[in-house]
């Protein structure tokens, strides 16, 4: 299983990453950025599908809340009515999760490629040779230069800059899609979620090699770009929340950016 994973997914991505580094003047940082962009572009159809499903589900929130109020004490009936609602609207409630699950192995492979390519310890460098193709462009790039801007890509960023960028960009991305709610419980939950993920990834940035954090930051920025393209700033713009909710209730989706 591990050999199959290496053969089909990891090795092509790893060698691609190293070859990119060679093509981009030996800059591994630029190679990480380029590969993240390429992977996100390849996964764009899945990302769009995921966003559309999320958007559709958010549009149904008022109706779901109505059902919750109406059948709150009868869970079985509530589930039945909700499924009926999803069916009528032609929405699969798991539609936003499956595309994410499909993308997950790719993200893991990208993560592994970055970590392996950096080969920060002698053991890692020796292990790297088991995965390299006999391409001249790959051999020329080894060992990779781990310095990029102020970062040593093989070590955690000792400044807080990258942690702030990763956490901040994640917060913006989440804020764009998190619908405001009138329900105090839901509101409190949303606020917690909105802070929790950026905080956790900010924390990871202080613990993991900055090459990986660079990938998170770039991925988040691209995610924000795609989100903006689909929905505009969405729920990020203050003062328009109520308006958006109203529109959501009426049209079943977030308003397209003006």
């Amino acid at each position: 299983m591990a050999e199959l994973w290496n053969l089909i997914i990891l090795n092509p991505m790893l060698n691609g990453l190293i070859a990119l580094s060679s093509v981009l003047g030996g800059s591994f940082g630029l190679a990480i950025i380029a590969l993240t962009v390429i992977v996100r572009l390849i996964l764009l159809p899945l990302t769009l599908k995921q966003l559309k499903s999320t958007k559709a589900l958010q549009g149904m929130q008022p109706k779901i809340q109505e059902l919750q109020k109406k059948y709150g004490k009868n869970q079985q009936k509530l589930q039945q009515e909700m499924m009926k609602l999803y069916k009528e609207a032609g929405v699969n409630p798991l539609g936003c999760i499956w595309p994410m699950l499909v993308q997950f192995p790719v993200w893991i492979a990208l993560y592994q490629s970055i970590m392996r390519a950096l080969a920060t310890t002698p053991e890692s460098l020796l292990n790297l040779f088991q995965h390299l193709y006999s391409w001249g462009v790959v051999a020329q790039a080894i060992p990779l230069d781990s310095h990029f801007l102020w970062l040593n890509l093989g070590s955690p960023d000792s400044t807080l800059i990258l942690a702030i960028i990763v956490g901040g960009s994640m917060w913006v991305q989440q804020k764009m899609v998190t619908a405001p709610s009138a329900d105090p419980r839901q509101k409190s939950m949303n606020s917690m979620m909105l802070l929790m993920m950026p905080f956790m990834f900010g924390l990871f940035t202080l613990m993991f090699p900055s090459g990986l954090s660079l990938f998170w930051a770039v991925s988040n920025v691209i995610g924000i770009g795609i989100q903006y393209w689909i929905t505009g700033w969405g729920y990020l713009r203050r003062g328009t929340s109520a308006q958006v909710v109203t529109k959501l209730g009426g049209k079943g989706g977030i308003t397209k950016r003006p």
Partner: protein
Amino acid sequence: MKQVKILFLIAFSLLGLVLASCVPGGTQPAQGWSGITLNDGILYMGSMDGKIMAVNPSARSQNLSFPADGEWEYPITAPSGGGLSCSQTSASVAIYGTPAVDEALVFSGGYNGKVYALNASARSQNLDFPQMRDNEWFYPKTSEVIGAIVGSPVMSEDAIYVTSSNGKVYCLDKHFGDKKWESDILAKKLWSTPYIEGGKVYISTFDGHLYALSAEDGSITWSFAIAYPKIGFVSSPAVYEGTIFAGSFDGNLYAVEIGESEPLWNFTGGNCFWAAPVVSNSTVYAGCLNGNIYAIDATNGTELWSFDVGSPIVVSPLLVDDSLVVAAESGNVYVINPKTGIGERIRNPGNDNKPTINALVQASPCAQEGIVYIRGQDNCLYALDIEQGRVIWKFPLTTQ
């Protein structure tokens, strides 16, 4: 429903992150692969748990309790923690280089960026380190460190030479640990072991240079780089009759006459020549990561023979009397006739279907009187009798 989904996604993301970080071969922790030096009947090596150890093979063959006569161990530790952790503790240091031994002094470099000189007598008595009167020292003498040390320290009559991950070569006084000189930055990092000959220090670098430095002051007296394509050298250099031999990242073994600007020849293997080649009687013996040991004519680069050991070769072969001993990474050890290339595997005494030793071999072995000593990555020391073709004893280096 939405909350459950979000929680599910968070849990799933975290699970994925944890799984991804646990996948073997990501960033492997530094564990070390210190080789073995034999001096005056005692074996010196670094263990996988960060100790410099002196092992008496005679005591081990009699299975005496450790430490027996001439035996000792000293743990190399460094402060750890900081960052997000609340407290600072000490952790064992990985040791990659093979120790250098001069009479009672044992020299070793740590991955923590310090060089150590240990006195066997002081260590046997378990005295505090360093005992200045016994010429014990560490460098740098302050809490500062140079870059991580991966290559082995090499001795001349009165000096120790070490390479550092900060890209410099350091020359230290053997008896007091004072710095005699440090070179310019020769590469982004230096992991190779220098080769000392004729008052020169020869170095190979990851960025594709071979250097000759003056052993007196560290000045560069000659340098060589492959013009095209731009390829780094992965192996440490070997020097033989005015020619330097080193393996490159693109799977070539280069021979360059010292003082020249063009290679004498290059030999293409199926993968990298990770370990330094061994040269004897105008023949270069070079182990390749494709699992072949090659015998190459040192004068013209012609292949004389090759022998497939079935797994990558990451340590230099060993010439023992009239035999070439080759340890494959898988744990199989072969004894080969260096003239004909015909050889056979030393069998595992417990199970013929298993490798010679049940551990990866990434540390340089040594030999004496027909016995080969190998430290496996299971942190055990093995003694192999070449004539009998079997393992005669095994000693775990993790002691209480």
